[in-house]
Amino acid sequence: MKLNINIKGKKRIIEIKEEIGKVIIKIGKKEFSFKKLNNKKGDISVAQTNIPKKASKKEIKAPIAGTITKIFIKEKQTFKKNQKIVSLSAMKMENEIISDFQGTIKEILVKEDQKVQEGDILVTLE
């Protein structure tokens, strides 16, 4: 089911799909999955969604503009808290970007020697 709705003056397409045991709501590129409850047909539990609570745990961004000098991790690799992720050189400062939490690397979006801007996503996390 697709719905066209207007949010704060912007048109959005919302797609709602039902799969076995869950309902998936897609808004733009974002996808939210809701687990169905067994007691009543059609009821969903909001408490069991996979909506990220904190966006920062889904990606690691460049804190400053510079050049990626070294990548310490690989895609699908798990990492621990305080583990080195990338090294970023900026205005003669060497910056080791570390993780503040544990997780798994989903995708590495940069290469060594690549220039990045402040706020660019360096890696996405699972």
């Binding site: 804190p63 400053i64 305080n82 003669k92 400062m93 060497e94 910056n95």
Partner: protein
């Protein structure tokens, strides 16, 4: 200022990064076996030179960037005031005398959601009497330029005090 002096280390920045976080701790070594500048550039660090790293207080990345640039001016000013010679700064972090390199600065940060640890490493060719062939046309030392022995500890303390004063001003 807590001064920790070593005879020889791989690099004062490497040692500083392994230390407990105690701002204004200074790691000073008579020589470095793996002295380095940015990326993979090595820094010639035999006995006689002045090599040290300062653990900086927690600051914003913007203040650290400003401080790195200002550190070159601090070192140049101290050279000028002590030895009455005119250093030249190649921004942001190299110091030259008579077109030859005499010092360099490398700030290293560890960053998670905010800046966790920052160190500023400074290498200054003070009492080096001779450079290897590949460096003799591009590097010099204060001893070569002024013809007398340099008091490394006095210069170190003046530089650290200068950084302290400057950080206080920019972070206010």
């Amino acid at each position: 200022m807590l001064l920790k002096k070593y005879k020889s280390v791989s690099s004062t920045n490497i040692i500083a990064k392994k230390m407990d976080y105690e701002p204004w701790t200074v790691i000073w070594s008579e020589e470095q076996t793996l002295g380095h500048g940015q990326k993979t550039n090595s820094w010639f660090s035999p006995k006689g030179g002045l090599y040290f790293s300062v653990i900086l207080p927690k600051s914003t990345i913007e203040d650290l960037q400003t401080l790195t640039i200002l550190a070159s001016f601090i070192v140049a000013k101290i050279i000028k005031e002590n030895f009455k010679i005119e250093p030249f700064i190649k921004l942001p972090n190299d110091i030259f005398i008579n077109q030859k390199k005499i010092g360099g600065i490398l700030t290293e940060n560890i960053i998670g959601e905010d800046v966790k640890f920052s160190i500023m490493g400074i290498g200054l060719d003070t009492n080096i009497e001779k450079f290897p062939k590949e460096l003799e046309n591009i590097a010099t030392s204060l001893k070569i330029e002024v013809g007398k022995k340099i008091d490394n500890e006095k210069i170190l303390k003046q530089i650290v005090q200068g950084i302290k004063n400057q950080l206080k001003i920019i972070s206010e």
